[in-house]
Each structure stands twice: as C-alpha cells, then as structure tokens.
Symmetry: none
Subunit: 107 residues, 2 copies
C-alpha cells in the first residue's frame, strides 16, 4: 500500500499508467512520450513494477510493459472505503472518540 501510493505520487508515473491503460508498450515507446532521459524513465518503470502496478515481459531486445489493474484499483478503492464509509480498525477508534466526545458534551 505504501509502495502503491508512493508510486502514484509522481505525475510522470501516473501518466505512464494512463498510457498503458489500453495497450502494452515497450520502454522506448513510453519514453517517447516524455521529455526525459531514458534512464530516468526506466527508473519510473522500475518503481511502478516494484509497486505491483505494471508487469514486464522481455521479447527479444525489447521490454514490453503492461498494466496490472488489480493492485491499483484494490488499493485506491480500498483506501477510499476505509476513509469514507465502511468499517476498519482505525475507524473504530474514530467512532469511539466520537462517542466519548458526545458523552463529554452532555455534562
């Protein structure tokens, strides 16, 4: 989860995911969309891969990258649900505080 949110905190990396949303692309094809050196792009790809957001498949001298949607959507919707509606450990704490505060206000 930390790795996913960390990976998503960079605009270039979010853009990479968007480029991969409909097709897989080679490292070079992706790099062509950015005004950035190839080593820099490669590093971004490594971070996304390490976060489990994209996968790589070597085909000859090319490396094809493709989206792994599960981890992304699970993390994003999971967190949105924890914070907005739904039950989770920290939310229990929050509810308890709310109760205590309500009781304090009665006095």
């Amino acid at each position: 989860m930390q790795k996913v949110f960390q990976a998503l905190s960079s605009q270039p990396r979010r853009k990479i995911l968007a480029y991969l949303s409909a097709t897989s692309l080679t490292a070079g094809e992706i790099a062509a969309y950015f005004d950035m050196s190839k080593p820099a792009l490669s590093k971004h790809l490594g971070i996304l891969e390490n976060a489990g957001l994209i996968g790589r498949e070597k085909k000859g001298q090319f490396v094809h990258y493709s989206l792994i949607p599960d981890n992304l959507t699970n993390t994003l919707t999971g967190f949105a649900q924890e914070v907005c509606p739904v039950t989770r450990p920290i939310r229990k704490d929050s509810e308890k505080i709310a109760e205590d505060n309500a009781e304090d206000n009665k006095k």
Copy 2:
C-alpha cells in the same frame, strides 16, 4: 490532483485521514495518536488541508480538523476509472457470476 496524490503518499497522513473518518478532532487529539512532535503533525495537517482533503475550524484556542471526503473520493475513483475503465473488483464479481450461471445451466 498532484496535491492529493502527493498528500496521500505519506503513511502518517493517510492515518490522519482514517482517524478523521468518523469524527472531527483537534490538532492535539490527532497528535496524541502519533509518535511525532506536534510541529511535525501540524505540517502534515497543513499539507492535507492544502490538498483540500481536510478542513479546519478554529474554536477558541483549539483547531478542529475534519475530513472533506469529496476531493478524496473524486480523485481516487476518477483516476482509477481513467486507468481501468471498469474497476477490477467488480469485474471479478461479474466474472464469478458468469461462471456460476454457466455451471447452473449445466445441471
């Protein structure tokens, strides 16, 4: 959007949002949950506020912070949808239903 993802890239900040999921809290109450100095916590709160994820209301000498869910959910679900047009978890459900139905039809 950049500000939101940037804000969410920190575990303490995500935890703050979770603590605020069911109630508003003062800066001091929030700080009590973390092993971190109050100035450091205050900085995190400032980042979350600047990203439009939480709001502050001064009441006397206390500052009450509360969640602003809209920006969070809009950003997260918006991005998830941009990258994976149909979210994976629901599609999994759909696929499972299809399997079950196929099996039912055999009998």
